[in-house]
């Protein structure tokens, strides 16, 4: 994999980096990770993207990771040694769309695919439904890795790189014939619970234990943190107290409440099924950094490739970085391996599976992919 980083985050820098990667004859496809601070817009980029000679995919994330460094501004362009088959799934918030049917129709043959990159608009409302459909159609015969792109302002805008230009409210499924090993872990533990989700609409939790969701959540979090919620600081406080959905014999599936909704509802990244039980979780620096290290170990253990110089793709939740603040460098140190080039993104939700567990859309989770490329 040819990896070039432009730290200026400018359009000119993007185009120069693109040209530099495309100059390599072996480059057959592109993975593009860009920082939100670049302020890339369709008007500025669509013409360039539409004229690309190779298939591409990627996203604009709150921040990106290049080596041991996280960058708010900049672009990573990875030249892939084989052409990915990229499919675009539009309308990722539309409740009427049957993703099972669309995926079944778009993918007739997966024989050679070993790894699927899934990049979604992280602020779409039906990401979990799409993930369930992926599992329904493909099962766990292939590895999945990816995450949610989008802005930390939580304003939905074009954030997916495609050969059609920058798109929003969509998902990109890119299939590659490369071996991979995937590791997933988060390190969040139960603070209090369980609470029954008595009313929910996709990613909006309306009530818990028959009470307005925020009312109950506020009680628990304010008591545990000793701080009071306000409209201005909701996420500042909530980023340390996500929800956890139970799953037998596995880490809880984390759901990150990011905004206050109407009538005391909580808006999460990813769906929370009505009728399920959730815990309110809390984390510590050590447990989170340990989880990142665990994800690396799991990824390496699962890797079956022959390459002695694989590449590491790190999809880590932006809220982990926001929670860890200065200590986030510890997380990067924990996964850094000087024998492996490292690239990645700080995402709005993570997607991963290494063939063991039911495929899920994660929040606040560290995902390490070891790629044979």
């Amino acid at each position: 994999m040819i990896i070039e980083v432009d730290k200026t985050g400018s359009i000119a820098g993007f185009q120069e980096t693109l040209a530099a990667v495309l100059a390599y004859e072996q480059v057959k496809g592109l993975l593009i990770l860009a920082g939100e601070a670049n302020n890339f817009t369709p008007a500025a980029l669509d013409e360039t993207l539409k004229n690309m000679p190779v298939p591409l995919f990627g996203g604009i994330f709150p921040e990106i990771i290049a080596g041991r460094e996280k960058l708010a501004r900049g672009t990573i362009i990875a030249g892939l040694p084989m052409a990915p088959k990229v499919q675009i799934i539009p309308k990722l918030s539309d409740i009427t769309v049957d993703y099972d049917g669309i995926i079944d129709k778009k993918f007739s043959n997966l024989d050679q695919t070993k790894t699927m990159f899934v990049v979604v608009d992280g602020l779409s409302k039906r990401i979990s439904a799409l993930i369930d459909s992926l599992f329904n159609i493909f099962g766990l015969e292939i590895n999945y890795i990816g995450g949610g792109a989008g802005s930390l302002s939580f304003e939905q805008k074009p954030c997916l790189f495609t050969n059609q230009g920058l798109l929003q409210d969509s998902a990109l499924l890119a299939m590659l014939e490369i071996e991979s090993g995937i590791g997933v872990s988060h390190g969040w533990t139960t603070l209090q619970g369980p609470f029954k989700v008595t009313e929910a609409d996709r990613n909006i939790v309306k009530s818990l234990d028959w009470r307005p969701a925020f009312e109950l959540y506020r009680e628990v979090v304010e008591q545990a943190s000793g701080q009071a919620f306000s409209h201005a600081n909701f996420f500042e406080l909530a980023k340390g107290y996500p929800f956890g959905i139970n799953k037998l014999g596995a880490e809880k599936i984390v759901r990150d409440p990011i905004m206050l909704g109407q009538n005391g509802a909580l808006i999460c990244v990813g769906e929370v099924p009505e009728g399920c039980y959730v815990d309110i979780l809390a984390g510590k620096v050590a447990s989170l950094v340990g989880a990142a290290r665990k994800a690396l170990v799991l990824g390496q253990r699962a890797f079956r490739g022959q390459s002695t110089t694989p590449t590491m793709l790190f999809m880590d939740c932006i809220s982990r970085a926001l929670f860890l603040e200065e200590e986030f460098c510890q997380e990067l140190d924990a996964i850094f391996d000087q024998n492996m080039p490292l690239l990645g993104a700080l995402t709005l939700g993570e997607i991963a599976n290494s063939g063991q567990d039911y495929l899920e859309f994660y929040n606040k989770t560290a995902v390490v992919g070891i790629l044979e490329a």
């Binding site: 159609i137 099962g139 037998l248 014999g249 596995a250 009728g275 039911y358």
Partner: protein, 869 residues
């Protein structure tokens, strides 16, 4: 590991997901996906006990996640445990074995769990397996799932029954509507019938006949009479009802009527008879019409026809009189008729003959391929009275549109003018020439014709018109026109071609003149060139030579043209030349081409001389031509020999005083004459270093001189190459250290293995190569010395990380005084003689030397010395 409380939550969440829909697919999707997600299973499926198309029992997969379980090896391993079923008892036996758990070869787990009365659930769990407690805890949920499945079925049945009932209800409503429509239709019909009956009664009342409904016995069932006068005497209308005919009619009439009633009823056909009835002092004539009515009933329509009978009798009398008269007249006419028939027969024969003649004429007239028109003079104008079909077809008119019009109407204006000018008048006067006329079709097309006209005379022999015959010559005219145009075109082309040929001829003549001049110029140029020019074709035959060749070799030009090139070279070169020529023709590769070569030439007088020659290959059209430019370098060789001798002498003369200078410098620097100041020491050291460089240059010049003179002598003895390398390493170590260059030696040539050669000279070669590597490597770089055995030879290699050599310079580096272009740029000192000397020494040992380099990346220089040397 999840706690028991969490497990209970999970079970609760699974339970809540079961039965959320009465549609089976939706219900199973929700329940199974929740179950798999919460239990962290990687796949699962629902199988129902069902009969297949052959009525065999089996576990049919109804729903699975993922949808395609064919690729899931664990799932397929689980299915291997499903038995072949033939009856429900076997199903029950199999259920007793459940729950069943197992593992596939990869260590993934599967579970087969009973769905009571429905089928079974397959669960696939990768990694850590489900614990038995959890599996047991699932049982009530599975019962609920089975119940939900049955509820879905019942729902489906209910829906089906409801749909059936709805269908039946719909059909009943449809039928009821149809009946209502039928009843209304009947009422409408009844109303119509009433109206018809009223109309019939009106019609009946208007009929002037008496009518009676009678049965076979003659009983009067109903009746209608016009007036009492129609009744037999003594019978009033009131007496008719319920009476029998025999009671009111005379017996014979009653019998007759009964007879016809019987016939009517038996035959079911209308019977009509006439009879007489005495009424009011007169006998009345009656016509009775019997019509079949209801079974065994007839309608008797009785009409009084007394007056009609009387009129008929009067009419009969008139008729008989008329017939008689007709017979008499007929006899008269019959006679005259016979005469007339004879006359008519004869006339008919003549007419038939005339008609046939007319027909033949008409056929000829119409089918003739020329146009015929017959005109009659009327006020000076030729009015068409007839024309044939060809005329109509050609001009596109119908006969009715032609007859009665002036023939002039069908001419073009030009022909009309001609006609007015007298053509027709001449015709009337009996002058009938063959003329050209242009006719105009209805569509406006011009038909060119030849007109030949004959006078048409009346019964008295006067010319009253003309018979005109038009022959269509349009095609001929067009062909003539086309021929004329073609002819004109050919004339034009011949003229143009002639002009072109003339111009080409002039050009060719000029070109021949130009070419002759060019040839003369070229020959002049060729003969004034200071080099011998020889052109040879692909067979090696001389095609052209210039005068310089004549001077160099002593042959006349004409003596050489057509001869093989070999006559100009000594015997020892001829086979090599021939082989090189063949190789070039076969492969296109020519090592001798495009460079100056030093060879020997053979003059006509048999003497040889040193020759410098440059050969190029040129393709002129299909012809391959080799051109050799040759110089006699005898004088140059003699000069070089003189120069080398001079250099050798001078070098010897220089070395002696230089050795003295260096000796004194060493002594002074050694401090024996007395202490030196620091400045003095530095100056003297510089002088000593310069002397060293000068000595090295002189040594190289001397070596070159020996090489040139062929007097380079090697002191070949057995020596240890490993030792030689080590000696050099020690010698250059300080040079490398001064530039912080890492110097590494990889000595793979066995340390105790000897080789025959001039150790000093070979050390000189190694020193030169390593010295170059250090000189051309920037500070902090690396230099590797590698000594090895390869293919029976000693192979020595120096690899550096230096500035490299431009690719264009590499082929010339082994020439005397040649230095790489970037060496001067980098201000690296040197004479350009070192590699030339190295090459000479290595080749004297029977070895080879060479180097590879990449600009800014480094250089590898190497040589090999055969062990058998």
């Amino acid at each position: 590991m999840s706690s028991s409380a969490e497990q209970i939550q999970i079970l609760y969440e699974i339970a809540m997901s079961i039965g959320t829909s009465l549609e089976l697919d939706q219900m199973l999707k929700k329940a199974l996906s929740t179950l798999l997600k919460k239990l962290n299973c990687s796949a699962g499926g629902i199988h129902f006990v069902k009969k297949d198309v052959n009525q065999d029992l089996g576990f049919e997969q109804i729903y699975a996640i993922p949808l395609n379980t064919d690729r899931n090896r664990t799932y397929q391993a689980a299915l291997q445990h499903l038995p072949q079923l033939t009856d429900r008892k076997q199903v029950a036996d199999f259920y007793r074995k459940l729950p069943l758990r197992g593992q596939d070869q990869a260590g993934n787990h599967f579970h087969l769990l009973e769905l009571p009365d429905v089928g079974l659930l397959v669960l696939i769990k990768n990694g850590q397996d489900l614990d038995p407690f959890m599996v047991k805890s699932l049982q009530p949920l599975l019962e609920k799932l089975a119940g939900a499945c049955q509820a879905c079925w019942q729902s489906e049945e209910l829906v089906a029954a409801h749909q059936h009932a709805m269908k039946v209800n719909f059909e009943l409503v449809e039928k009821s509507n149809a009946l209502n429509r039928s009843r209304q239709d009947l009422l409408n019909v009844l109303q119509e019938l009433r109206q018809v009956a009223a109309r019939n009664q009106t019609i009946l009342d208007a009929i002037p006949d008496a009518m009676f409904y009678l049965n076979r016995s003659g009983d009067i069932l109903d009746y209608k009479i016009v007036g009492e006068q129609d009744l037999p005497p003594g019978v009033s209308p009131e007496m008719l009802a319920g009476r029998n005919l025999q009671q009111i009619l005379p017996p014979d009439l009653a019998d007759l009527t009964l007879h016809y009633i019987g016939q009517t009823l038996d035959s079911r056909k209308i019977q009509v008879f006439e009879c007489q009835l005495p009424l009011r002092q007169r006998r009345q004539e009656l016509e009775v019409r019997l019509v079949v009515g209801e079974p065994n009933e007839v309608l008797a329509i009785v009409r009084n026809i007394t007056k009609r009978k009387q009129a008929e009798k009067a009419l009969q009398k008139v008729k008989e009189e008329l017939e008689r008269r007709v017979e008499a007249r007929t006899a008269e006419l019959s006679k005259s008729n016979t005469l007339l028939k004879q006359e008519i027969g004869e006339r008919q024969k003549v007419e038939e003959q005339l008609r046939q003649a007319e027909q033949r004429y008409r056929t000829l007239f119409d089918e003739a391929p020329v146009m015929y028109v017959i005109t009659r003079d009327q006020g000076g104008a030729p009015i068409v009275t007839d024309c044939n079909q060809q005329f109509l077809t050609t001009l596109g008119y119908r006969r009715a549109e032609v007859v009665g019009r002036s023939l002039a109407d069908f001419y073009t204006p030009a022909s009309q003018a001609d006609l007015v000018e007298g053509g027709y008048q001449r015709a009337l006067q009996g002058h009938f020439d063959t003329e050209e006329r242009s006719l105009l079709t209805r569509a406006g097309r011009v038909v060119e014709t030849l007109l030949r006209a004959r006078p048409e005379t009346d019964a008295e022999g006067h010319v009253c018109g003309k018979r005109a015959m038009f022959v269509d010559v349009t095609a001929r005219k067009r062909a003539e026109e086309a021929l004329r145009q073609t002819h004109a075109e050919l004339e034009r082309k011949v003229e143009a071609r002639t002009a072109e040929l003339s111009a080409a001829n002039v050009r060719l003549k000029q070109e021949i003149i130009d070419r002759k001049q060019t040839e003369q110029t070229l020959t002049t140029v060729l003969n004034t060139v200071g080099e011998g020019i020889i052109a040879v074709d692909s067979t090696g035959t001389i095609v052209t030579v210039n005068q310089e060749v004549q001077r160099i070799w002593g042959y006349q030009q004409e003596e050489l043209i057509g001869r093989k090139l070999q006559i100009l070279m000594p015997e020892k070169y001829r086979s090599t030349h021939q082989a090189g020529l063949q190789r070039y023709l076969q492969t296109g590769a020519g090592r001798m081409l495009g460079q100056w070569l030093e060879l020997e030439g053979l003059r006509k007088d048999g003497s040889t001389f040193p020759l410098e020659v440059h050969i190029t290959a040129t393709r002129i059209g299909e012809r391959l031509l080799f051109t050799a430019a040759a110089r006699d370098i005898t004088e140059r060789h003699e000069f070089e020999k003189m120069r080398d001798n001079f250099v050798s002498t001078v070098s010897h003369e220089l070395r002696t005083p230089l050795a003295s200078i260096m000796g004194f410098l060493e002594t002074v620097l050694g401090g024996r004459p007395g202490p030196l100041t620091e400045v003095q020491q530095r100056f003297l050291q510089n002088s000593y270093k310069s002397s060293e460089r000068l000595l090295k240059l002189i040594e190289e010049l001397l070596t070159i001189s020996r090489i040139q003179q062929g007097t380079l002598k090697l002191d070949k003895r057995s020596f240890l190459p490993a030792q030689a390398v080590q000696n050099v390493r020690e010698m250059v170590a300080s040079l490398a250290a001064a530039k912080s260059i890492g110097l590494e030696v990889e000595n793979e040539w066995p340390s105790d293995k000897k080789l025959v050669g001039d150790q000093d000279r070979l050390e000189q070669v190694i020193t030169n190569l390593v010295g170059n590597a250090i000189k051309f490597t920037p500070e902090g770089g690396r230099v590797w010395l590698h000594s090895d055995e390869a293919d029976g030879s000693w192979q020595f290699k120096v690899v550096d990380t230096g500035i490299g050599i431009p690719e264009a310079d590499i082929p010339r580096l082994f020439q005397r005084f040649y230095r790489a272009s970037n060496a001067a740029e980098a201000q690296i000192q040197g004479t350009g003689l070192g590699l030339y000397v190295c090459q000479a020494i290595v080749e004297e040992h029977g070895g080879q030397i060479g180097l590879e380099s990449k600009l800014d990346a480094g250089t590898t220089a190497w040589f090999t010395i055969p062990a058998s040397n």
